[in-house]
């Protein structure tokens, strides 16, 4: 029993056409790359499906996406309570890719320690075969107009994450500093460390398919999978 496959995607609300308005076409390339990665995850039939992302209220739950808190009245069909945004983006991506209702959402605190995150990941993997959709971005401080303004530490931080995701280096992910990540508004730190814990010892292959910073936030898309699983590369942009 272990982690069978994982996909890392951005938690950017602008991926959602209903929220993007007239810019829906301009960001269509990124949206397609993200959806391609999620489809690849769903192509793996084994393992329970778990979405991981930051949330103020932590723990496993069910629910659906709901954009009314962002100003658009639209809601997922599944019913249940509205999920926190990162998990809601995951829910929406799974809905768009035609995933069934059999899935769980895990909120992790942005303040949780790397040790706690890694431990949580290990426990999840030990409990049974698992597929993870990991929702989280790199820093949000990559330009003057970025949500967190420009921070010179952001680029090296993101570069380290990129390398780790590209080669499946869980140790490097677990070494990310929570304090720095918080200052750089990198929403992916805790979820990536849960992934790192779950992947420990699984011998996963890895591939980074997207690393872009179009609006000051670093968007990363990566796939980790068990090499015995037939490789299905994500579609090119």
């Amino acid at each position: 029993v272990s982690l069978v496959a994982a996909v890392v995607v951005p938690g950017a609300a602008l991926l959602v056409p209903e929220l993007a308005g007239g810019s829906v076409q301009q960001d269509a390339g990124l949206r397609e790359q993200v959806l391609g990665a999620v489809r690849a995850l769903l192509a793996e039939p084994r393992g329970r499906l778990l979405v991981v992302g930051v949330a103020a209220v932590t723990g496993e739950r069910t629910g659906t996406w709901d954009w009314s808190s962002l100003g658009v009245r639209a809601r997922g069909a599944g019913g249940g309570p509205a999920l926190p945004l990162a998990l809601a983006i995951g829910a929406w991506l799974l809905d768009v890719c035609g995933a069934g209702p059999d899935r769980t959402y895990l909120g992790v605190s942005p303040d949780s320690t790397p040790q706690a995150c890694g431990q949580r990941g290990q426990e999840l993997a030990a409990a049974g075969d698992l597929r993870m959709l990991v929702v989280g971005d790199g820093s949000a401080c990559r330009s003057e107009k970025a949500p967190g303004h420009l921070d010179a530490r952001a680029e090296p931080f993101d570069a380290a994450v990129q390398r780790a995701l590209a080669v499946g280096d869980g140790t490097a992910l677990l070494a990310l500093d929570p304090g720095l990540a918080r200052e750089l508004q990198a929403a992916g730190r805790a979820p990536w460390q849960v992934l790192a814990g779950a992947a420990a010892g699984a011998g996963l292959a890895a591939e980074l398919t997207v690393a872009v910073v179009p609006y000051g936030v670093c968007y990363l898309v990566a796939r980790w999978w068990r090499p015995d699983m037939p490789t299905r590369r994500t579609e090119p942009p």
């Binding site: 602008l14 993007a20 007239g22 970025a146």
Partner: protein
């Protein structure tokens, strides 16, 4: 002078018979109920109040058409006779000014809706043959045969309230018990008459006729209560651009009425007007689109702030 009472007609409720709830279809174009449309003014006149002959020459008028289309007008409104009193313009002279222009615009801009601002049935007949899609009867059905021309050529018709005034005359001490009630009854009557004569229901607009047969308070009240016109279900056109009632609100001349025009445009858009006749097309397009975004009739053109 009290405006003569219009023939009493029942006012249709919103949505009855689908009036006003559907698309406006003019020429090859279809404008949805939530899609504000700007009608760009093109005057082939030597003496209109705001442009004062700038686009009188054929070449200048064509350039003006290109400009308003470029700026986002879905309709061009070609006029050959200034609205205010002035030099006599015969039907022949009016036709000489507008018919050729309509033909040229039809060739140059196959998709734009061509409206002609005329009260004369004879001129209407000629411009329809030349390719016009809409007759803007700004003098409120002065020549009843104009609606018959629209029906015969399957073009649209703007039904306007001018308070019963003869074309090219100014209101003098006009009074209304209730100006909005008078406007509603008049324009709905004209619209229903047009449909009865065979004008397509989805090609009929109503226009309260700001400044026409009205003092400035009348026009301001019509603006304030425009929702009552919208509630008739007929698509509402407003012609506000640079008009005297806006000038009198601030004591400003025509050159300084842009802000007033856009303010009145915003209020009208908010209350549900669908077509906006304008000199300042680009500014009017932006105003109407912003109001549509505020009311939620239109989505953002760009949705990234706070969502990256």
């Amino acid at each position: 002078v009290r405006a003569p009472p219009p023939a009493t007609r029942s006012v249709r409720a919103v949505g009855q018979d689908g009036v006003g709830t559907g698309a406006l279809r003019l020429g090859g174009a279809s404008f949805g109920p939530d899609q504000g449309v700007v009608m760009g003014i093109v005057n082939r006149t030597p003496d209109s109040f705001f442009d004062r002959g700038r686009t009188y020459a054929l070449g200048a008028a064509l350039d003006r058409v290109d400009q308003v289309v470029e700026e986002g007008a879905g309709i061009v409104d070609i006029g050959g006779v200034k609205a205010a009193p002035g030099d006599e313009v015969t039907a022949q002279e009016e036709a000489d000014r507008v018919v050729d222009l309509v033909e040229l615009v039809r060739e140059r801009h196959p998709d734009v809706v061509i409206s002609v601002d005329t009260y004369r049935a004879s001129v209407g007949e000629l411009v329809c043959r030349a390719g016009a899609d809409l007759l803007n009867d700004a003098w409120g059905g002065w020549e009843p045969a104009l609606a018959e021309v629209a029906a015969r050529h399957d073009v649209g018709l703007v039904c306007t309230h001018a308070g019963g005034l003869a074309p090219r005359t100014r209101p003098h001490r006009v009074q209304y018990d209730d100006v909005v009630a008078h406007v509603v009854t008049t324009v709905v009557g004209l619209a229903e008459r047009a449909v009865a004569l065979g004008v397509r229901r989805d090609a009929v607009l109503i226009d309260p006729g700001h400044d026409f047969g009205k003092n400035s308070r009348h026009s301001l009240e019509v603006t304030r209560r425009l929702d009552e016109l919208v509630a008739t279900g007929w698509p509402v056109l407003v012609a506000l651009s640079r008009k005297d009632f806006l000038g009198e609100a601030l004591d400003l001349g025509t050159d300084d009425r842009l802000e007033g025009t856009l303010a009145a445009t915003a209020v009208s858009a908010y209350l549900g007007a669908r077509v906006f006749r304008a000199h300042d097309v680009a500014a009017t397009v932006r105003t109407v689109r912003t109001v549509a975004a505020i009311t939620g009739r239109a989505d953002l053109a760009l949705g990234r702030r706070g969502l990256a």
